[in-house]
Amino acid sequence: MIKMKKVSKWFGQHQVLNDIDLSLSKGEVVVICGPSGSGKSTLIRTINRLESIQGGRIEVDGDDIYASHLNVNSLRQKIGFVFQQFNLFPHMTVLDNVMFGLVNIQKRSKKESMERARSLLDRVGLLEKINAYPGALSGGQQQRVAIARALAQQPPVMLFDEPTSALDPEMVGEVLQVMKGLAKEGMTMVCVTHEMGFAREVADRVVFMDAGQIQEIADPETFFTSPQHPRAQRFLSDVHIR
């Protein structure tokens, strides 16, 4: 489904991704963690071509996504992206946010889009907030709308960038429930997160990054109980202090 081969990225002189190799098959869930600035966000952004890369190759569904002839807009319709800061459109209601891609990008009929949006919002438990504006929602509610919006176009792949870091403990729970549901249904997912509970429960593999490189890939249980890489050991000790 997703294949990254020797992907490298520089910001000016500064190398942010260094020979990244990573493959996901359909239905797989991968969690990425690592210290701040290690390149986690940059990595998942490259999968959606939100960043340019200077070396290597990324394939989604067998297509080289950095090929110049590739239609990037239709690629992105296949990939749902949930931003750390939600990035809901503040001038649209919750319903309009979720319908946006269906109506304006995929040019579906209003009626059909509305039905689909409603059923998604129902699923994330926000049916009664349908006409609210994002500014009137709590953080956890906003995050769930962002997920519904990303799911609306029925993408086979979902990317999550720290979907819970801005939330308080109770809201973290709400958002993780929804994501677990998706994982169970067989969605292919890449998720940057430090939520150990989530990683343990749903991830097939955990990827630990540091300084632009993948330092360790392991199944969750192994990673959390006996990390191999010294940087990962230090990192996990910090996380556990909490």
Binding site: L50, S74, R76, P90, F100, G101, Y133, G135, A136, Q153
Partner: protein
């Protein structure tokens, strides 16, 4: 100071109508041109930026009067004779004045919208693109509507100035409010009365614009407030 006779007030109302027509036509023109400029500019291509910058700097730094004279006396000379004479038979003053005013105001409006644009986090555009929206869709549905909202107060100020600046076009014979006031003043030498009436009419028009502007502002205010 005493009031003007009905006949003169009527004449001035005629001028006011022209002023309002001119204002509306040039505002619509200005707004469309400004939006186009903003979209071009936002591509971040250096050619585009250069062109839009030059456009803005020209209009901002050259007096409006000169700009109006240029459009009235300079531009039509580039047209073929037949078009020109058709134009002159059909109130060329008014249409050329509207073009000159509109293009001038467009430069300012474009800057105002661009300031509004700067207030929109880049991530909004990214979010739209990440869903598969193309450049124009992202601009049209996500960025521009938000930028406009931020720009409303500045745009109200701009509309007021455009409304008042229509008087510049009397230099090329557009019979707007100031033009009529001057005619009446010159006929009667009752300077204070005529200018007093003209000032009152401008003020009334300006208040109307402020009122409508405040309505639009309130209508567009995004509900929900603090974390939007």
């Amino acid at each position: 100071m005493y009031l003007l006779e009905a006949q003169y007030l009527y004449q001035m109302l005629g001028g006011m109508v022209t002023t309002i027509q001119l204002f509306i036509v040039s505002w619509v023109l200005a707004f469309s041109v400004a939006l186009t400029l903003v979209v071009i500019r936002a591509t971040e291509l250096s050619v585009a930026r250069w062109i839009v910058d030059a456009y803005v700097e020209y209009h901002r730094n050259v007096p409006l009067l000169v700009h109006v004279l240029f459009w009235y006396f300079g531009m039509p000379e580039l047209l073929p004779e037949s078009v020109r004479s058709w134009l002159y038979q059909h109130n060329a003053e008014m249409s050329l004045a509207a073009i000159a005013l509109g293009l001038g105001a467009a430069a300012y409006i474009a800057e105002d919208i661009r300031s509004g644009l700067r207030a929109i986090p880049e991530t909004q555009f990214e979010a739209a693109r990440a869903m598969g929206a193309n450049y124009l869709q992202g601009m049209r549905y996500v960025i521009i509507p938000q930028a406009l909202r931020h720009a409303v107060p500045a745009l109200i100020g701009r509309a007021l100035l455009l409304f008042k600046n229509t008087s510049v076009t009397m230099a090329i014979g557009v019979a707007e409010l100031t033009y009529q006031a001057r005619e009446i003043e010159n006929d009667t030498y009752r300077t204070f009365a005529t200018y007093g009436a003209a000032t009152a009419m401008y003020l009334a028009g300006a208040f109307l614009i402020m009122f409508i502007g405040a309505r639009i502002h309130a209508y567009y205010a995004i509900s929900g407030g603090r974390n939007a």
